[in-house]
Symmetry: C2
Subunit: 388 residues, 2 copies
């Protein structure tokens, strides 16, 4: 195994391609000068293409959670009725932010490991309201589930046509199929350290005309996360507060790489690595957390067997160069997660499976040598249409 370059398999920050890393070492420029304006305009244009939107896309210097906060405080007022559809820790977080700022939040929570059920969402929408906004999670990082956003959004438009649809797409957008405009999504949040293959520090938020209309009368207190201020500054190629310039340099390079690969190819690659991880873990005897119909192609969660000493297991993985993530919230200590988004290839997944396999064998567990690697490779090839 490669002990010198750890295989960073957490659901963000993802490892960075060399060209992206190196852009982080560039010398600073004046963030109010012409070079930065050109850079930001180019980055925003490319983000729009990946968002598949004609809406504004704004860049906020913050972690993804800051992007979620900007999506709440820029468009809503205290007392607004909000339906928060949550399937895990990040859905809960989105709901919590709205609650903290005084929204009247109704939570529609689904069992962790399941996707949101559109029929139940319809019932919940009908049972309450009038809804000012609906909060959705595209890809729930804590449970490794990708929600059927298109279907959910359709139901919102049907039952509550005026409601804003605010989507946490932090850990999925740019990696798996997503259509901001075709699905009618008003506000969509993502983050640099996920599919975008860039260091953390920037969050992206798309904003529809309907959302801007809401912004004009929104009364939640806001300053740093005021997206209207970001829009005003973006019009002259700036940001209202000093941006994370080095991360912008990296983003510019990463978006060019993504453009060269092509969005459809990126989606195919993620489908292949997702299939590979699920097949490999299953071959190793792990039980997956996620409902297989909605399994995420950017992150996979597996239950830790009760007779497996997690600390010893994870220590061995680390020693062999594999870095995985633990569980979050209710799942802390119960699952581990493997990230497979952004700068990820099938061989990187095979490396992870090889380390897991060797570790389990070292721990004396009944694992067939080579089986996980083979299963992962076959699943990837099938996903790519290269095997039956």
């Amino acid at each position: 195994m490669n002990r010198f370059e750890p295989n960073l398999r957490i659901p963000g920050p993802t490892s960075l391609p060399d060209a992206v890393r190196e852009a982080g070492a560039r010398q600073m420029v004046n963030h109010r000068g012409p070079e930065f304006a050109v850079l930001q305009n180019r980055v925003i244009d490319r983000l729009k293409a990946f968002y598949k939107t004609q809406n504004d896309v704004l860049i906020v210097t913050a972690a993804g959670t800051g992007g979620l906060e900007s999506a709440i405080v820029s468009f809503l007022s205290p007392g607004d009725k909000i339906l928060a559809v949550t399937i895990g820790a990040f859905g809960d977080r989105f709901a919590k932010i709205a609650t903290v700022y005084g929204a009247d939040v109704t939570k529609l929570a689904f069992e962790w490991g399941k996707a949101a059920d559109p029929a139940k969402a319809r019932d919940a929408l009908r049972a309450g309201g009038p809804w000012k906004a609906v909060l959705l999670t595209q890809n729930e990082t804590s449970t490794a589930i990708t929600n059927p956003i298109e279907e959910l959004a359709k139901i919102v438009r049907e039952v509550a046509p005026e409601a804003l649809i605010l989507v946490d797409a932090i850990s999925g957008l740019g990696a798996v199929p997503f259509e901001t405009d075709a699905w009618g999504l008003d506000v969509v949040v993502s983050g640099s350290q996920k599919a975008w293959m860039v260091a953390p520090g920037l969050s992206f938020v798309s904003v529809s005309p309907r959302a801007w209309k809401a912004a004009a009368v929104a009364r939640m207190p806001k300053f740093y996360f005021d997206l209207a201020a970001h829009k005003t500054s973006a019009e002259s190629g700036q940001t209202p507060w000093t941006p994370a310039v080095a991360v912008m340099f990296q983003l510019d390079v990463a978006l060019e790489m993504m453009e060269q690969e092509g969005l459809e190819e990126i989606w195919k690659r993620h489908a292949a690595v997702g299939a590979a991880v699920r097949a490999g873990l299953t071959a190793l005897g792990f039980k997956l957390l996620a409902d297989s119909a909605f399994a995420s192609d950017t992150v996979t969660g597996a239950w830790i067997p009760e007779d497996l000493d997690w600390k010893a297991f994870n220590g061995k993985l680390r020693k062999l160069g594999l870095i995985v993530a633990g569980g979050q919230g209710n799942l802390k200590g119960k699952i581990f997660r493997i990230g497979h988004l952004g700068h990820v290839t099938v061989p990187a997944i095979l490396n992870a499976m090889a380390v897991l396999e060797q570790t389990l064998i070292e721990l004396g567990r009944p694992v067939t040598p080579g089986a996980a690697v083979e299963a992962a490779q076959v699943a990837a090839l099938k996903s790519l249409g290269l095997a039956k």
Copy 2:
């Protein structure tokens, strides 16, 4: 003149030393893993030494303005009486954040270019209250003034002993003399792209026990900028939201360089470059904005003569490799500013003076060749005790 490596003379982002730049190109690590915890603990210990504090120091992934917002929302409640002492655009911004979140803000504003007058601050404190907090700006970047914080803080303690003293030290801390604990400052905010010679993206906030007591009952809404959440996470070497990892790598290297240089030496260097800039600009015939008794050693503002075409002038400066900043707020179009903080040496200032001198000569203005460079060098040497 050097046309290949621009002399970035804006008051942040500052240019980065090579070793700091290069750290921005490192591969990502798990922000919940042991490597990051060691890094963050080391960085925080070093920040405390530069803050001269035993208080907690927390790291927030945001621009300095986000740090200011965290200082307001973490400790205050709507309706709290706040005295905002402002001497420029950033003092106004600090006051505005408190107002937006519902504080009852009394502004004590001084003429731009002047420091806050302690006697007037005493009068204002006596005339109102009871004060929950007093907002102070250590170094007002928009007007190039360093306030007498020690004196102002003493007066707050005398008149309103229980009031929290919240200080915007974003553009001065780490460059000019500052004593968090000896001056009794409760919350002190700084930012990575200033004296710390690091890319933007991180803000630092020190918090006194008195401020933590206030945090326990503070009712302003907050989520991302909740410093209590940052404290809880910091106790296990983490951050509540994904941190700007690459900027942390740079900060670690920069703080080691700063430690090697030594705080007193850093202060002396900034005093020398400050004196050099003021002497050079004066020799070139510019009138300085700042009251000379309180002139900042990190940034200098000069009035643009009415008969000088700023766009042509600035275009020529840029062509010769000198990047300066314009004015902010009321001073937009009226002044330009030269930053001299962080990664700055006397030779870098002499380069800037040489470009200014050549440009003015090209524009046909009556400037004695060599005079500004000489004046700057002499002032620097005097400041260092090497000339009379």
